[in-house]
Amino acid sequence: MELSKFSVGNEGREVFWNAENFEGLLFAFTAIAMAIFAYGIYRRWQMWTAIGKPEVRNDQIKERIKLLLKNGLFQIKTFRDIYPGIMHGLIFFGFIGLMFGAAFDATEFHVGEPYGFPFLIGKFYLVFSFLMEVLGLFVLAGVFMALDRRYITKPERLGYKGEPDNTPDDAIVLLLLGGIILTGFVIEALRIHVTNPPWEVWSFVGYTLAKAFAGVDNNTARIIHKVMWWTHTFMALGFIAYIPYSRLVHMITTPANHFMASLKPVGNIEPIRDFETAESFGAGQLEDFTWKQVFDSDACTRCGRCQDGCPAYLSGKALSPKKVVQDLKTYWLERAPLIAAAKKAAGKAAEGAAPEMPAATKAMVGEVIDLHELWACTNCMYCMEHCSSSIEHVPKIVNMRQYKVLTEADFAPELQLTYRNMENNSNPWGVGSHLRADWAKELGVKTLAEDPNVEYLFYVGCSGSFDERGKKVSVAFAKILQTAGVSFGILGTEEGCCGDSAMRGGNEYLSQTLMQTNIEVMNGYGVKKIICTCPHGYNTLKKDYPHFGGNYEVYHHTEIIANLIAAGKISLKKPVDGMFTYHDSCFLGRYNNIYDQPRKILAAVPGMKLAEMDRKLDKSFCCGAGGARMWMEEHDGERINNMRTDQAIDVNATNIAVACPFCLTMLTDGIKAREKEEKMASLDIAEVVWRAMGLEEEKPSADVCAPTE
């Protein structure tokens, strides 16, 4: 037992015990570590700023600080996946707490004690010690969970197609983290073993561990302590120095990415403004992305959340959002130093001389990112919704598609046909545009040309106008509106394709043409409120049309129907049979946060039996038709719509309620593919509601041969 100035009632410890004359060395090593760190960040900074077009991501500071606090400090996005969320949270919060602890120690030593106001004493010291033990255990637990996930449990998402994508760096980081904590506990235990104050029972880990050194004499203990203390210190300083050169850089890039997250509406694709003079469109090389799009890839932690719900990946296609980001990162790591050096050289050269940029050695689109990956994306937004680093995958995909479609005109023939159809007849099927309003012929629905003084424009969309199933939805919804006495009209043959599929399929030129044509017509009639039955039209009218002077209040029909039910304008009295499940459309759910209304509507139907699928709400599984995939062949892997249908079959659903005509088509096809059409059906919410209103005798489908009287 050594003499001490501390005692019961005046608990504390000698900070930096047994580390006499350490300051000079410690400061020197710290300075070296900080210098290595600073140099790494400087290099990284040059690489971050080397490539990419300008983009403003430091506006609306208040919003951005909120995002930084929410997802950076409080880890909200990380906690959305609970187990890995806790794993990361234990390490993250544990380490932050311990860093404060270390700072307290340093302050006590360098300020508190020398200036006569020590604060790490008494009860505060005991609580402080206790907390440090708990936080240390947090980090250790987190590290063990991480080691388990990466090397024992190996969840699919920590790899690609069954192959783990572990790197030595992953192990180094975890061992460093664990090592810092373990050595911390050991030096604490040795100190307690030698000094042995009774209150150190509060430092319960060190106190317990001290017992393991029971037979060690004090001098040996002091020597071991010194060695361990320096080991601990080197590991901690090494950790700091290692940050910019390892996956630890995410400690900087990921919070930065949260801060710089897009504040635009979900799914926003920045319109191309210059078609006339540009030579190339979309992103064919890294340089065609914005700097933020490039930066994104450095914020990726390879956690694989994106991959976990990616319909393309899960159905066996080449695409994994994680792989796309990582491949772009690898390419960036290759290109950025060269470009940064070229810029630097140009800076030194005579002013006005254009910097000579190193030529790209490979095609980004086609070589770095395989075309099968590029075209497999359904734009379902799962990856972006769940990315705990706020990476924006989908706009990158669309930008690369723009390059293939607009600049190279090299893309799937069936999609070329779709675009020609949109060009010639303003619908993807190429049905004569004069037939657009035929579905409404017998309903007495007026066009705005006939009566522009209506409250709502019902923008029917291509599916609702031309697709046989879609037309039935339009009829059901028009009848609901008529019954409820809602004032509405349609554009009839003046309506055109909304442009969503063209835009998401990379044909920005066509989509803008389509949008502008519609906007001219709608603005001509002074349209203010619009209802869409198709979430694709809904999303694009709401979010993309304002780019081109089309500013409307846009509603989805589920919002309108939910309101009509709530206001008592329609009553659902006829019970429906069967077991229902509701399939969330991506463009309604993740894009527009409409999850409640469809479910409220279904709940209002008498006799409704509703089973939820496992993948629901923001984790809903895409039907496979978004992002222009509706119009493309699905050659690789399992068909996404069949997989979704299986998920409905798994909950014994006999009816899949949908709120999107693309989903309707895909799931109807899925039901056929699974040979369940006798037992199962897919229905739009409007059809369910119209049935439940019980105002129309349902005609059996075979009535053409019914006996006539």
Binding site: F275, L406, A409, N424, G432, H434, V704, C705
Partner: protein, 256 residues
Amino acid sequence: MNIVACVKQVPDTEAAIKVKPDGSGIEEAGIKWVMNPYDEFGVEEALKLKEKFGGDVTIVSVGPARALETIRTALAMGADKGIHINDPALEGADAYNIAAALAAAIKGIPHDIIFCGQRAIDDDAGQVGSVLAEFLGIPQVTFVTKLDVEGASIKVIRPIEGAQLLIQSSLPCVVTAQKGLNEPRYASLPGIMKAKKKPVDVKDAAGLGVTVAPKAKIAKTLPPPARPPGKIICGEEPAEKARELAKLLREEAKVI
């Protein structure tokens, strides 16, 4: 290799065709005009040959002002220049006069191969390519589904009932394109933008030294006969329904 592709602007295949009440033609209001699909095969083949052998592709079209859009479409695909023969006298003219005008325009420019569609989908006449070859005094190979250049001649495939002919022809030569020859490309956006600035010569009959004198003319355009309503055969047994169907086909429709 210098190539000429003749194109015609026609109503989109899905357009609603309405015959004018006086039978003088069809109502043009609301019609979406496109490049005749068979001509598009010709343009695509011309571009492929250009990519392989170099040279120029010239687009020639007879039509009113709106036909310029179709010429621009072909230029957007990659053709180099256009000749737009715009003369009211040629509107609705017969194949003989159209071919004469085309021949006059083409004589003035170098041409190793001239592509035409095997027919235009509006009047389905299928004569212009052949008459054009006669005016130019050069060979013609029609309904071509495959084309290979071998030195100063071409080898083409022409499908016929139950077989296909491999035909060799000297150059210059008129080739009429049939479906299957290729898949026409989608124009790139830089292509579309550049097409706006590519040269298009506008000529009329007088400028080409052609006198328009129809040998045949469309006397009247009539709507197709109204289709009688369909009939659904009802019955319990498939055999019974088949019997009824056979009976109706024989006695009512008189087709078997």
